[in-house]
C-alpha cells in the first residue's frame, strides 16, 4: 500500500513539474527572438535541369540590417530573391517572412525590384504605379512621394516606353518603395544608372536603412555593398560561402597608402621597416599591408627620421572586393 502511495506521489510530483515547466516555458523570450528575425530561410534548393542554382541555402536576416548578397554572375542571387518573392518555386526547403509562412498578404509588406524593371509600356509612370498601389492597397497620394524620391516627378505623365533604362530602373525603385514596405529587396538597383543616379540610390538606401527598414541588396558591385551593407552573404554556384556582418568578414585589417616626392628612396626606406608586410606600387603611391601595431603616426615618424617627408598618407580598411576575391579563390584551391 505504502509503495503504491509513493508511486502515486512520485508520479503526481512529476506531473506537477511537467505542468510547471509547460506553464512557465520561456515563451516571451522566444517571441522577441522571432520578431527580430525578418526572414528565415531553411535549407532551400532549386535546380534548373542539371544546373544547381541554389544548394541548401539557410540564412536569417535581422530587422534593421542592410543585407548584401554578393556573388559572381550566375551564383544564385536572383534565384534566391525570386524564391523569396514567390516568383520561383523552390524544389526543397522553406522560408518564413516575419516568422510566418509566406503568402500574398505578406508580400504587401515587402517592396521589390527583381532583375529588371517590369511595366506596361503603353501606360504612363503614374498609371503603372496606380496598378501597384491598387494591388498593395496604398493611397494614390504616396505615388507623388515615391516619384519625388527617385527624381521622376517631371516625367510622371510620360509613357513608360519613352523612358531610358535608367529611368525605368528608378521607376522600379519607386514602385518598390510604394506603401512604405518594412523590407526592401533590391536586385542590382544601380544597373544602368548614371553616376548621379547611382549616388542617389546609394543615399536613398542609407536613408531608408536609417529609418529602420530592412534592406536586402543583391549586387556584383562590391564597393556598392561595402558602402551600404551591415551584413553580407557570399554565394558561389548556389552555395553559401560566407554569411555574417561585413566588419567581421573584413576583420580589422587595414592598408596604408603613402607617397613622397622621391618614390625610390621611399621604397627603400619602407623595405627597412619590419612591420611592413607587402609593398605594392599603385601609380604614384605605395599601398602597404602592415602589422596591426604599425600605426600611421609611427610610420610617419620612422620615415621622417630617415629624411623622407610624405605627400600622402591614408589608412583604408581592407576592401570587400579583396576579401571577396580571396574567399572565392579559396574555393578553387
Amino acid at each position: 500500500m505504502a509503495k503504491v502511495c509513493i508511486i502515486v506521489v512520485d508520479n503526481g510530483f512529476f506531473v506537477i513539474i511537467v505542468i510547471y515547466f509547460y506553464l512557465f516555458r520561456p515563451i516571451n523570450i522566444k517571441k522577441t527572438i522571432l520578431q527580430n528575425e525578418i526572414l528565415e530561410i531553411r535549407d532551400v534548393s532549386k535546380s534548373y535541369g542539371r544546373l544547381k542554382a541554389l544548394d541548401s541555402l539557410s540564412l536569417t536576416v535581422e530587422r534593421g540590417s542592410v543585407f548584401g548578397i554578393l556573388g559572381p554572375n550566375g551564383s544564385g542571387k536572383t534565384t534566391t530573391l525570386g524564391i523569396l518573392l514567390d516568383i520561383i518555386k523552390p524544389d526543397r526547403g522553406n522560408y518564413f517572412w516575419f516568422g510566418k509562412k509566406p503568402d500574398a498578404t505578406i508580400r504587401k509588406r515587402i517592396g521589390a525590384l527583381l532583375e529588371q524593371p517590369l511595366f506596361y509600356p503603353y501606360l504612363t509612370a503614374v498609371q503603372n504605379l496606380k496598378i501597384i498601389a491598387d494591388i498593395r492597397g496604398v493611397r494614390y497620394e504616396e505615388i507623388d512621394e515615391v516619384l519625388d524620391m527617385v527624381r521622376l516627378s517631371d516625367r510622371k505623365w510620360y509613357k513608360c516606353n519613352s523612358f531610358s533604362f535608367g529611368m525605368k530602373q528608378r521607376l522600379a525603385i519607386a514602385a518598390a518603395m510604394l506603401g512604405k514596405p518594412e523590407v526592401l529587396i533590391l536586385d542590382e538597383p544601380t544597373n544602368g544608372l548614371d553616376p548621379k543616379g547611382i549616388a542617389d540610390i546609394r543615399n536613398l538606401i542609407v536613408k531608408v536603412a536609417k529609418m529602420g527598414f530592412t534592406i536586402i541588396l543583391a549586387s556584383h558591385l562590391l564597393d556598392e555593398v561595402e558602402k551600404v551593407c551591415t551584413h553580407v552573404l557570399v554565394l558561389e554556384k548556389g552555395k553559401k560561402r560566407y554569411a555574417g556582418p561585413v566588419n567581421e568578414a573584413l576583420g580589422n585589417s587595414f592598408i596604408i597608402e603613402v607617397a613622397a616626392p622621391d618614390l625610390l628612396s621611399l621604397q627603400s626606406a619602407l623595405k627597412q621597416i619590419p612591420q611592413v608586410k607587402t609593398i605594392t606600387r599603385q601609380n604614384t603611391m605605395f599601398v602597404l599591408n602592415v602589422h596591426d601595431d604599425l600605426t600611421p603616426d609611427l610610420l610617419n615618424r620612422k620615415l621622417s627620421d630617415q629624411g623622407i617627408y610624405l605627400t600622402h598618407l591614408a589608412v583604408r580598411n581592407k576592401s570587400l572586393e579583396k576579401y571577396f576575391l580571396e574567399l572565392l579563390s579559396d574555393g578553387h584551391e
Binding site: 518573392l85 514567390d86 521589390a112 501606360l123 496606380k130 496598378i131 494591388i135 514602385a175
Partner: protein
C-alpha cells in the same frame, strides 16, 4: 460575401487600369462592335438577294424572309454573332499573353497579388467582355426587332429571349478556352497560332475520327452547339428542322468546361516559376 465582392471589385479595377488606357484594346473592341453591327444590318438583304438569285430558275418560288422580326430575331442574331467570337478570343489571347511578354505578371505577384487572384482577374476580364458583347447583341437585336416587326405586340418580344443569355454563356466559355491557351503557351504568336489551329483544324479532324456521340462533347463543338442554326422558311421548305431551343445538356456542358478550363490554369499556375 461582401468581402468577396470587394475583392472582385478590386480585381476588376486593377484590370481596368491595365487595359482601359490601352489604345489597342479600344481599337480592337470598336472594330468588333462595328463589324457585328454592320453584318447585322446587311445580313437580311444579303441573304434575300442570294436566295432570289439562286431561285431564279427554280419552279418553286422562294419566299423572301425576315430575320429581324420578333421573336426570331433573338435566335438569328445570337447565332450570327457567334461567328465573331474568334475575334474576341484574339483580344483575350493578346492581353493575357502580354502579361507574360512584359513579365508584368511577375511584378503583380511580387507586389502582393496571389496567383489565384491574378487568374481570377483574368476570368473577370473575360466575364466582362462576354457581358459587354451580350449587351451589344441585346440592344441591337432589340432595335432591329422593334423596327422590323409587323403587328408588334409586347408578348412577341419575350419568347426566345433566352438566346441572349445562351449567347453570353457561349462567348464566356469560349473565351475561357482561349484564356487557357494563352496561359499555357504564354508566347503571343504561338498562342494565337495554336488556338486558331485547334479551332479550325485539330478539333474538326478529331471529331471526324471519333464517334459522333463523343465528338459532340468536344469543347468547341459543344460550345457552338449551344445555339443551333436558326430555321428559316427556306429550310422548312426543304424539310430541315433545327433546334429552336437551348438544351440543358449543352448549358451544363459549357459550365463544366468553364470550370475545368479555370481549374487547369489554376493548377498550372500554382506551382510554376513565373
Amino acid at each position: 460575401m461582401n468581402s468577396y465582392l470587394t475583392a472582385m471589385n478590386k480585381l476588376i479595377k486593377i484590370d481596368y487600369r491595365k487595359y482601359g488606357h490601352s489604345r489597342s484594346f479600344w481599337v480592337l473592341s470598336a472594330l468588333y462592335v462595328a463589324l457585328v453591327l454592320i453584318v447585322f444590318m446587311v445580313i437580311e438583304s444579303f441573304l434575300n438577294h442570294v436566295m432570289t438569285n439562286v431561285g431564279k430558275g427554280s419552279s418553286v418560288t422562294i419566299p423572301g424572309f425576315s430575320l429581324y422580326s420578333f421573336p426570331h430575331v433573338w435566335h438569328n442574331m445570337a447565332y450570327l454573332a457567334g461567328f465573331f467570337k474568334i475575334f474576341l478570343a484574339l483580344i483575350v489571347i493578346i492581353f493575357v499573353t502580354n502579361e507574360f511578354g512584359y513579365k508584368t505578371i511577375r511584378q503583380n505577384v511580387m507586389s502582393g497579388m496571389s496567383r489565384g487572384e491574378f487568374l481570377m482577374s483574368k476570368v473577370l476580364f473575360v466575364f466582362i467582355i462576354a457581358l459587354a458583347v451580350t449587351i451589344v447583341l441585346f440592344l441591337s437585336a432589340l432595335f432591329l426587332g422593334l423596327t422590323h416587326t409587323d403587328h408588334l405586340t409586347a408578348a412577341m418580344i419575350f419568347p426566345k429571349m433566352f438566346f441572349v443569355p445562351a449567347y453570353f454563356l457561349e462567348v464566356f466559355s469560349f473565351l475561357l478556352l482561349a484564356m487557357l491557351f494563352a496561359f499555357l503557351l504564354q508566347k503571343q504568336g504561338l498562342a494565337i497560332g495554336i488556338f486558331a489551329l485547334y479551332y479550325y483544324v485539330i478539333e474538326p479532324v478529331i471529331s471526324y475520327k471519333i464517334p459522333a456521340g463523343v465528338a459532340r462533347f468536344l469543347p468547341v463543338k459543344l460550345i457552338t452547339h449551344l445555339i443551333d442554326v436558326p430555321n428559316s422558311s427556306l429550310m422548312k421548305l426543304f424539310g430541315v428542322n433545327f433546334r429552336e431551343t437551348v438544351s440543358w445538356t449543352d448549358v451544363g456542358g459549357c459550365l463544366v468546361y468553364s470550370a475545368l478550363f479555370v481549374l487547369i490554369v489554376y493548377l498550372y499556375l500554382k506551382n510554376r516559376d513565373l
